[in-house]
Symmetry: C2
Subunit: 233 residues, 2 copies
Amino acid sequence: MPIKIIAFDADDTLWHNESIYVSAQTQFKQLLAHYHSPEWIEQHLYQTEMRNLAHFGYGIKSFALSMIETAVELTEGQITGVDIQKIIDITKAMLAADVELLDHVAETLASLRDAYTLMVITKGDLRDQEIKIARSGLAPHFRYVEIVSEKSPDSYNAILQRYDIEPTQFLMVGNSLRSDILPVLELGASAVYVPHHLTWVHETGDASTIEQPGYYEIEHLGLLPELLTRLGR
Amino acid sequence: MPIKIIAFDADDTLWHNESIYVSAQTQFKQLLAHYHSPEWIEQHLYQTEMRNLAHFGYGIKSFALSMIETAVELTEGQITGVDIQKIIDITKAMLAADVELLDHVAETLASLRDAYTLMVITKGDLRDQEIKIARSGLAPHFRYVEIVSEKSPDSYNAILQRYDIEPTQFLMVGNSLRSDILPVLELGASAVYVPHHLTWVHETGDASTIEQPGYYEIEHLGLLPELLTRLGR
């Protein structure tokens, strides 16, 4: 059956996101620079984030709490209230950051919206993601927006059921092998991997091991219409 | 048209929630007891929460960040890292808290689920709410679960449209006049106010001023079936 519905991941597929985290981490490392090396801080922060994922889930507020916890631990409680407030201010700036679209996104969505039903499937904090979709200016292109707490075969399947979509008609586009590609292929749907030069290590994987049918990789979103034409033949 | 769809708010309508916040606040006030009076801390925390609502939205992680910010401010930066970690631990315990159903909830839902389409409409953190619904054991009663970032006439309207529901067939049940009752009445649907003895001051209002048709008030959820029988006549 030909592809009818195209779903896009949002962060680092439609707009820059990881760069905001990287820049916040840089500020965080500067804040703790007289205690530890940047490498040690980064490693410890990642461990704290992984440990806290089960408590806090994804998103900027979770990241904020993990930064604060890391700061307390790495300074053995010596971190000052003023520096804690600086961490909170870093995260407020993250939440207020402009949404910067990736190259080719606006024109690609505009060119596809008439021939396909377009949707967003993104994970993370409900409110953060809603605000970004609104700020992006892309909302009119999307028929549906689904914000989920975790991207698993089950959560994709629930969405397909909700909108009565056959897996063979469904194509997911994203930059995370773990979240956007593998669970979708598992359902028998198609998935297009668009690597992003900054991808959180938690979301990466080895594309060369993927052997399921329905898997495609393109260098940037501007190449999606051409791929779709090829698939439609 | 008779009521066909009944939507329930979750926190303090189906299960205890505000009590978890009240208990966390008590611990927070004890933590800062050698700096300020409980009243002053409580007042300042509420102000911080209101100021941060636009940044952080609702939920436990937002509350955590507001407690930390309040602690820094009220101690003029003197708060120790150890106490900051205690605040984070308080919020982890909140997230892990058991879901305790309110009286009459389980049997009322069981008695209504065959005659009506039941759904949950709750606001707050996506992940927190999903976890609570799963832990509550009530999930099988609900056909749909909608977690929104804000309860406004627009957000209710989007839900009615999504499921093709006429306002006259729709009844919302909840403990917040601001979030569960007023926006629903504004759409011409019905709303049942079930006051809870602990309701966050941000969510309260004056029920005696409500004059729209379709407004009802009951003392507890066990009285809902009787009310519905009365309305159906």
